[in-house]
């Protein structure tokens, strides 16, 4: 029983650590949805490109990690802005489902671009961070670092959204699209900034994930769907809901994986999602109407 409890605790803490990164991913997606009202199905693929960016900057061009990371964030932010400018902008007036499918097309483009350009080999940075032993529990520094950086990123976004003029304008647009244009806010510019910000968050996630996972062209499929489910579970566009949902999901996956294979953790999380959709269709924290 003693050993079992330690494993349980370790799984719990690992769940929280995983939750931090998932919350970061969900935040970026929620931001895009809340402000522009578009779901980027290809969000995880932006992260994948970012991970390749890190791989090339760090392992091929031998930049130190702390230099490569900001460059990588900028790169993915630019990619996010380009995605908005090239694909979403022409479709702003189209039915939402067309926007969803168009970003789905971008998913295929990015995946196959990575296959063509980088090949299908698994690559990693070759950094092995030490493992923190706490009593009989073991936590990898990569996860702790990811959790910490994700929290810092989220706080930074929060400050940006509440303390700056641009952030206020973004939140205002999320509340009322039509009126803000009349108040003299350049909607197009705000959309572009939001997309870049969402991309930047994907870039940050990429810098953190590349420490823990190998990168390959299909790596996006392993955490992309979960990110959408987290956003929907929290209520699309609801930042706090997404945050809570990320930790719930991470705990389910982590604890489910403890009792059986990791896949059953995912099955459980997905099933939980479907059940929750019926109990609270508008998201975990939605007010009952």
């Amino acid at each position: 029983m003693e050993i079992f409890d330690i494993y349980l605790l370790e799984a719990l803490v690992n769940g929280i650590l995983l939750g931090g990164v998932l919350a970061l991913l969900a935040l970026g997606l929620n931001l895009i949805f809340g402000v522009i009202d578009v779901t980027w199905i290809c969000y995880a693929e932006l992260v994948m490109i970012g991970m390749y960016g890190m791989y090339y900057l760090f392992s091929v061009y031998h930049l130190p990690y702390w230099v490569a990371a900001p460059l990588c964030i900028l790169l993915v932010a630019a990619l996010g802005a380009a995605l908005h400018f090239l694909v979403i902008e022409p479709l702003l007036g189209a039915p939402p489902i067309n926007q969803l499918l168009a970003t789905g097309g971008v998913l295929f483009v990015l995946q196959s671009f990575a296959t063509v350009a980088f090949g299908i080999d698994f690559r990693n940075l070759g950094i092995r961070l030490p493992v923190l032993a706490l009593g009989e529990m073991h936590f990898s520094y990569a996860r702790l670092l990811a959790f910490g950086a994700a929290l810092v990123g989220m706080v930074a976004v929060y400050l940006f959204m509440t303390r700056t003029y641009t952030g206020t304008a973004i939140r205002a647009i999320a509340q009322d699209r039509q009126i803000m244009a009349l108040m003299g806010v350049d909607t197009k510019k705000i959309y572009l900034i939001t997309s870049a910000l969402g991309g930047g968050l994907a870039g940050l996630a990429a810098c953190l994930l590349v420490l823990q996972y190998d990168v390959h062209p299909f790596v996006g499929l392993s955490f992309g769907p979960i990110t959408f489910l987290i956003c929907v579970l929290g209520g699309l566009g609801n930042f706090v809901g997404g945050f809570v949902a990320a930790f719930l999901f991470a705990e389910i996956i982590s604890l489910g994986g403890l009792f059986s294979d990791l896949e059953w953790g995912y099955v459980l999380a997905f099933a939980f999602f479907i059940v929750m959709m019926f109990v609270r269709p508008a998201g975990l924290l939605a007010k009952r109407s």
Partner: protein, 323 residues
């Protein structure tokens, strides 16, 4: 009357084709095109009414795996296994779709709930790897030579005719729905659910019927694909990538016309094959790259798809010149 004649001539020509021309490679491509066309048509049966499902990879996986598992582990003939698999897919569709429609989960949310469904099916297949072979794939046990009871045939012509029949059946269902009251009800629902309900349409029941028909047909496509290829893996018959592929092919061809998904299947499969044959292993990824770019361009410039835009243009060239 003319269209009916055209259909009859076209179908006869398709039936006669393998007897006149029997290049195995080309027949193989055509069987694949027919099976996938049927799957895409099944998707478009609900997709055309704005019910965008990303869970059809799940239904297809259920069709393929249930049939094969029953055959390998219990020795149940696919003739019984396929209907059982179709029932399973139908039941799964009911379980997921009923609450969705009851609680008014539409649009984005519906797409994402069904995405979770295909995720679940994929993970279950991988998690039960002791039975299903996991991500390495799975092969139905072979009988010697052709065997009707095992639904295994060495002769490609037999498969061609089976696939042709199923594909034509799929189109028949499409037309049947197109002419039924369901179509009007569904169109009303996709415009405005409240108004449709006020006009006396049973919104939940209508949507459920279409969804279950679509899911059952997709399961049949999955089972046939498994029986024909004699190899199934989570990547080829199940999961999110397959779901997306279905949506894309249908959209590229055109989801509002009967032959749209078929055109989509022809374009996407031919594209992949031409690139594969032309570039060999260097082509890995290029087909999807072209495919993805096409899809984005289509949704921006030709949302009705190739065939849909073409038909609209033929009907009144001036009005639809810009697609």
């Amino acid at each position: 009357m003319n269209t009916r004649l055209a259909w009859a001539v076209g179908l006869t020509a398709l039936v006669a084709l393998p007897f006149a021309y029997r290049d195995p490679y080309h027949l193989h491509i055509m069987v694949l095109i027919l099976i996938w066309s049927f799957a895409y048509t099944s998707w478009s049966i609900m997709g055309r009414f704005g019910l965008v499902s990303l869970g059809h990879g799940g239904f297809m996986g259920v069709g393929a795996y249930v049939t094969t598992l029953l055959w390998n582990h219990l020795g149940v003939s696919p003739w019984i296994g396929i209907p059982v698999a179709m029932l399973c897919a139908g039941a799964l569709a009911l379980v997921v779709a009923y609450p969705c429609f009851r609680f008014r989960i539409t649009g984005h949310y519906f797409a994402l709930v069904t995405l979770a469904l295909s995720g679940i099916v994929l993970q279950i297949i991988i998690a039960t790897r002791d039975y299903t072979g996991g991500s390495l794939g799975y092969t139905p046990e072979r009988t010697k030579g052709s065997h009707i009871l095992a639904l295994q045939f060495d002769d490609k012509i037999v498969w061609y005719l089976i696939a042709l029949g199923v594909w034509a059946g799929g189109l028949a269902v499409w037309y049947w729905i197109d002419r039924s009251m369901s179509r009007y009800a569904m169109e009303a629902i996709s415009e405005d659910e409240d108004a449709a309900a006020a006009a006396g349409v049973n919104v939940t029941a209508e949507k459920l019927r279409i969804t279950v028909i679509s899911a059952v047909m997709t399961a049949l496509a999955g089972a046939l694909y498994g029986q024909y290829q004699m190899f199934i893996s989570p990547d080829t018959v199940s999961g999110i990538a397959v779901s997306l592929q279905m949506v894309f092919a249908a959209v590229v061809g055109g989801i509002y016309v009967a032959l749209g998904p078929t055109i989509g299947a022809i374009i996407t499969i031919m594209l992949a094959e031409v690139l594969r044959v032309g570039f060999g292993t260097k082509a890995v990824g290029w087909d999807n790259l072209v495919y993805g770019v096409l899809l984005v361009l289509f949704i921006i410039f030709l949302p009705k798809g190739i065939l849909g835009s073409l038909l609209a243009w033929v009907k009144s060239p001036r009005k639809h010149r810009d697609g």
